[in-house]
Symmetry: C2
Subunit: 191 residues, 2 copies
DNA sequence: TTCCCCAGTTGAACTTGTTCAACTCTTTTG
DNA sequence: CAAAAGAGTTGAACAAGTTCAACTGGGGAA
């Protein structure tokens, strides 16, 4: 049953009863996306928060110069959303695109709010999820400042071997914040 | 009364009753730090979460090469902590230092946990605080990738004129992730 | 007050990373 | 299957940013 992946994920953060897990899960609806399909596009409002069951997504933004900037990749067990747009119903800065045929569980804003109201432990759950997320964004910033591009590249492929093997070098480069030509030269000089 | 600053801050995120605000505030103890004094040093365990009432702090880390890397500056209304170290009682990667004589409100881990238990709305409060924090870390990463150093510098001083005016250029450079010599050249060429 | 330390500036040489253009090799797509 | 589009590589010229060293000036401590 596909909801088991979600339930296992939630239990990692907070101790939840079976009844609670069932209730939370019941608010999420399964959906499938084909390769290259978008769950969210820049400028539109983020209506859904997603949890990846299978497949792979890229969360990215186009900057003023038209360059793509990848915030993160999401495979099984990762969340997908533009938090700001989802919570405040403002136009999103982000694009969320499936890199391969994928399965997700979705919850809309009203249901998420209802869930927060209905089950206070969900507040704790997401307090902890966001708290952990914040820590990893801080660490990523420090790495960006203190590592060279080469070090960042090898850190990435060593930390996420399963994700990086699915990706094109172009996509990895936009995650690392370097040009794909330069990534090609990094790979040539030390591999 | 110094607790008013905290109360006003909390009310911005969640609608709290006077009784709740009083109760939450009662868990925080005032403390003063002299210029250059540390609230936390790398390697030690973060025992206190802080809220700045007055003054200015720098949150930074030393990387392997011994370079300082500034995560953020905190003036009035900002939180101070190493979330990871505070929650999991693991050795901290961060240093938190007062840049001038400062006043803070502190809460220790046990009291924070007790507060979460006692008043479920505190979970919502910090869920929202962390959620907003996450959004700003994401935006900072995108700026780091899509802006040049010059653009990042002017964005910083325009966004935080009150903070940046208190800082030495060396500290701003370590926040931007560039050498202080190069910052000096940026300021010369376009001011 | 004096001394010294430290922040900031500047220049020169160097390293890192970008841009553009040409080429190859797969992968889609009609 | 053929054509076209996209992913990766390479080189050369360039731009961005670092490093090191020397110098300047101001502020704090004795």
């Amino acid at each position: 049953m596909s909801y088991d992946i979600l339930k296992q994920h939630l239990k990692k953060h907070v101790d939840l009863s079976t009844a609670d897990l069932d209730l939370i899960s019941s608010y999420f609806k399964p959906a499938s996306l084909k390769k290259k399909e978008f769950l969210l596009t820049q400028g539109s409002i983020c209506k859904m928060e997603g949890f990846v069951l299978d497949g792979c997504f890229r969360v990215f933004t186009f900057d003023k110069k038209g360059n793509e900037n990848t915030l993160y990749f999401a495979t099984k067990d990762w969340w997908l959303m533009d938090i700001d747009s989802f919570m405040n119903q403002t136009p999103s800065d982000l694009n969320i695109q499936a890199l391969e045929d994928s399965k997700v569980l979705l919850i809309d804003r009203q249901d998420k709010m209802a869930l927060y109201e209905l089950l206070p432990i969900v507040e704790k759950l997401f307090r902890i999820i966001f708290q952990k997320g914040l820590v990893s964004w801080q660490r990523r910033l420090v790495r960006n400042h203190s590592f060279t591009s080469k070090e960042r590249y090898f850190h990435f492929i060593q930390t996420y071997p399963d994700i990086s093997s699915k990706l094109m070098d172009k996509q990895i480069a936009s995650y690392l914040g370097i040009s794909h030509e330069f990534l090609s030269k990094i790979k040539k000089n030390k591999k």
